[in-house]
């Protein structure tokens, strides 16, 4: 039972919070305090207070411009779809990707365990015929669609793309509980080919965009493709092949017009 539930923090506890922020609280005590933070509002407020006050000491230093490579590395790790980075990624994939026969498909998922949360795939026709697009009836119907659904958490993502797609629009319905230090990565896997990395899969609710490298954009129009999401280590940059367990796979459906 936290002493803060009866009101203000004890002085000892408040000083623990201060030392935690300063960095002088020993390792065990720090870990204990971190565990208590989510449930202790007064403790959190005290930590915030010291972060704000001691943080001012950081402002006394003259700013130093970091090298441009730092931002590039950040954008790469997060799979940000900003123009220059998107282009770079596209050219890298264009250069290294090779076609592979179906029998070798397993080699692109080395040592992976299929996560238990892969569920029955929702066909794109359901999406097109559902009430989802009621509010966007004035907007053009998507040409491509996919739905990713996690049965454990109930999280779902709607994925759409127009004719001649340059990007996928991913609408995350709710926030996915992404574990600390992890990142979800999205791949487009055309039939009989290796998966192509298309960016970071969003865990935050709302609309996100995944830029499609030119090869992926072409494949999606020419052959049946699957959208796949893996769980990977955030500290390891995305590489040309998946590096973590497969979370979900969903076919990308094509709306037949006319």
């Amino acid at each position: 039972m936290s002493d803060s539930q009866n009101g203000a923090l004890s002085q000892e506890r408040a000083l623990d919070a201060a030392e935690y922020v300063l960095g002088t609280l020993d390792s065990d005590a720090s870990k204990r305090l971190e565990r208590e933070l989510p449930d202790d509002g007064a403790l959190r407020a005290e930590v915030d207070y010291w972060q704000d006050r001691l943080g001012a000491l950081g402002l006394a230093l003259a700013p130093v411009e970091p090298p441009a490579e730092v931002w590039q590395a950040i954008a790469e790790r997060l799979g940000l779809g900003l123009d220059e980075i998107g282009t770079r990624r596209a050219s890298r994939h264009g250069g290294r990707r090779t076609k592979t026969p179906a029998t070798s498909r397993s080699r692109f998922w080395p040592g992976l365990a299929i996560a238990a949360s892969i569920v029955a795939v929702v066909l794109a026709a359901v999406l097109f015929n559902s009430g989802v697009y009621e509010q966007t009836r004035t907007a053009p119907q998507p040409a491509y669609a996919s739905v990713v659904y996690d049965k454990d958490t109930g999280n779902s993502w709607l994925v759409t793309a127009p004719e001649d797609p340059q990007q996928l629009v991913v609408t995350a319905m709710g926030r996915y509980p992404l574990p600390e230090g992890k990142v979800m990565r999205a791949w487009l896997k055309p039939a009989d080919e290796a998966p192509i990395y298309i960016g970071t899969w969003p865990y935050k609710a709302g609309k996100h965009r995944l830029k499609l490298p030119p090869d992926a954009a072409k494949d999606i129009t020419q052959k049946p493709s699957q959208l796949m999401v893996t769980m990977e280590d955030a500290s390891v940059p995305a590489s040309s092949s998946p590096n973590g367990p497969l979370l979900w796979a969903s076919p990308v459906g094509r709306q037949h017009t006319g």
């Binding site: 030392e19 002088t24 006050r53 000491l57 950081g58 230093l61 996100h208």
Partner: protein
Amino acid sequence: MADREQLIEWLAATAAGDEKAFQRLYASTSSQLYAVLLRILRSPDRAQDALQDAYIRIWQKADTYSPERGAPLTWLVSIARYRALDLLRRKRPEVAMPEEPDMIATLLEDDQGLSPLEENENQQSLDAIRECLSTLAPQQRDGVLLAYYEGLTHQELVSHMDAPLGTVKSWIRRGLLRLRECLAEVLS
């Protein structure tokens, strides 16, 4: 450096997944965070790694920030500093001795960190903590400054300040207590 309201807006937009806002947030704040990391880690390579990690964390945690928690820039600085401390705990940089606290105190006297047209809130915060640090007993002040700018642990302070562990802990605790009391008066 963008003002407080702009940073708050960019953080909120980043929380909603707005990549352009995140890039602007980075462009505006990274030089301050990099300065802090260089100071603590002493190595451009390590500071650059830590800066990357810090902004990855900022991207992930942007939705946990709210103005009630404190100024946006000090929140960002804290994230960067925690990352530096994590790295320090794994490997102390190959530097002979930390800087003397007097040099650090001198640093606090100059206004080199903030430009003359800096927004008021940050300037007030810095002025307040400078003023309050000057009211601490010298060893209390030195202990707090060495811990903040050098990332020294109690044990390392024992070596550096040549005093027993209990004494060092007491300097830090009393220093922080005195700071809190003073800040409450100064900022009320």
